[in-house]
Amino acid sequence: MAEAIDLVRDPWSLEFMRRALLAAMVVSAVSAVIGSFVILKGMAFIGDALPHASFGGVAVAFVLDANLYLGGAIAAVLTAILIGFVSRRGLIKYDTAIGILFVGAFAAGILIISRQNNYTPDLFSFVFGNVLGVSWNDVWTTAALSAVILLLVLLFYKEILFVAYDPSMAAASGLPVAAIQYGLLALVGVTTVIGLQTVGIVLVVALLVTPAATAQLLTRRLPPMMAVGALVGVLSSLAGLYIAYYADVAASAAIVLTATGFFALAFLFAPERGLLWQRRFVPAERA
């Protein structure tokens, strides 16, 4: 019994593990809230695009010896706004605009980095994330930015919901639809940058999409969907870090794969909407 408790407690005796848990839980929770809008609006592609685009900003900041997260954040928000602007012109489709802009910004990042001789692991960690290497400073920055994002969603929930659900009617009601759409894109941008340091560019899209998609299968309204998504994210962080600790595997990948596992469970077993539920009950109804 005591041994079992030790197994549960052991990882958290290490300070870097405690920091990692805190950072991962905060990031995955706020990603699930913003990710709910991302998947409902069919913006999963943009969740993929913004982290890549932010790499361009990270590279510029690296060369200028400025704050890397600030550089990434500026690039992500700028790309988000550009995507909104280009697609609102209506000349090319939304996903085409995303494709062009994010590859462009990502390529710019690679171009800039390729000119640098001191290509350090520090920069490399942005691509694959380094949740075990976050400092207390990173944790507090993450927490503060996440609090701001959540506060904005809470304050403007009504407006974001209306614009996401029915932009024409929202505009007819006099809401500043364009401002709210750009604002939401900017929030997605900032969220992805927060996610960069924990799971990295490649996997941040998973935190935006997977917990929210899991929650969508289990809930019927948006507020519970956000809450359940955040819970799935937090549990994935916790379980993922245990797996990383005991199996000695990459922490960010373990977190994301745990979330994928939760999604698979919901996909199979979700009441009413799960695959097995439908198999079992649909024929019975017909009989």
């Binding site: 409902l40 209506g90 304050l155 403007f156 009504k158 407006e159 919901l161 209306f162 996401a164 659900y165 029915d166 024409s168 009617m169 929202a170 505009a171 007819a172 009601s173 006099g174 809401l175 969508q216 809930t219 019927r220 309204r221 948006l222 969907m225």
Partner: protein
């Protein structure tokens, strides 16, 4: 029918469109559209797909800027947003979105609330009242996507009612509904008209307009004809409106219409 005592003063106008031109990327969708709708009327906006019905509704709502011309609502060029209700085409609504019927109807109150403020108990009461008048009270807590087509249209109308709008613009509310649901919806429109609401219903269903509406606007980029359905639903005018999209068959003194 809107029969009126000739001694009474002329009725006020809910909507005046004066030589409205509008379009997209240089291609005209509306060419010199002019017509009036009296307050308390049920007007049918009739035309084939691509005839500019939705564009006209968007211009009236102030969502699309006309190239030239003028829209007056209740005698003013200002948009009285609170008095303007709108239900979009069914295909434009995201029915899979995780919102309940009551959530959707409450959105009718959002325009009045202003930024940040939350709907109050009074707003909920008005929303529930609107649901009652479209007979959806029992389904208030359902997900909007779980409703039948006819119930979904009624929910959208309830949203416009929750807004306490006086002029309702409905984009193809009858499309794709079975006869019973169409009948329910038309009865609802008639009830609203009797309460003094003005309704403009975009549709390509001629029989409904012929039977129940006060006015018909035949639209095909320009106004082909405007008047009482009986007067404007002639073979010549309908052919001019629908061009080759319709098949008209005359039998005795009635015109039967099929989509060609």
């Amino acid at each position: 029918m809107a029969t009126r005592d000739p001694v009474l003063p002329p009725p006020s106008l809910a909507l005046e469109a004066q030589d409205v031109w509008a379009g997209y990327n240089g291609h005209p969708a509306l060419e010199g559209v002019t017509f009036n709708i009296e307050t308390g009327c049920l007007g049918g906006l009739v035309g084939p797909n691509g005839s500019g019905k939705s564009t006209l509704l968007r211009v009236i709502l102030g969502l699309h800027r006309p190239w030239r011309g003028e829209i007056r609502l209740f005698g003013s060029t200002e948009r009285p947003r609170r008095r303007l209700g709108y239900t979009p085409q069914s295909e434009q609504v995201d029915w899979s979105f995780p919102v309940t019927v009551l959530d959707v109807v409450l959105m009718g109150r959002y325009g009045r609330l202003g930024l940040v403020r939350r709907p109050t108990a009074a707003d909920r009461e008005i929303a529930m009242g609107a649901l009652e008048s479209v007979r959806l009270t029992d389904l208030a807590a359902r997900r909007i996507g779980e409703l039948s087509g006819g119930q979904q249209r009624r929910a959208l109308v309830a949203r416009a009612l929750a807004q306490e709008a006086d002029l309702l613009l409905l984009d193809e509310p009858l499309a794709g509904l079975d006869a019973t649901s169409q009948h329910d919806l038309l009865a609802l429109f008639e009830g609203l008209r009797q309460k003094g609401k003005t309704l403009i219903v975009a549709t390509h269903d001629l029989s409904c307009v012929a039977a129940d509406f006060d006015h018909a606007i035949l639209l095909n980029r320009r106004v082909v004809a405007f008047g009482r359905p009986k007067e404007v639903f002639t073979e010549e005018l309908l052919n001019a409106t629908f061009e080759r999209h319709l098949l008209l068959v005359r039998l005795e003194d009635r015109t039967y219409v099929g989509h060609g």
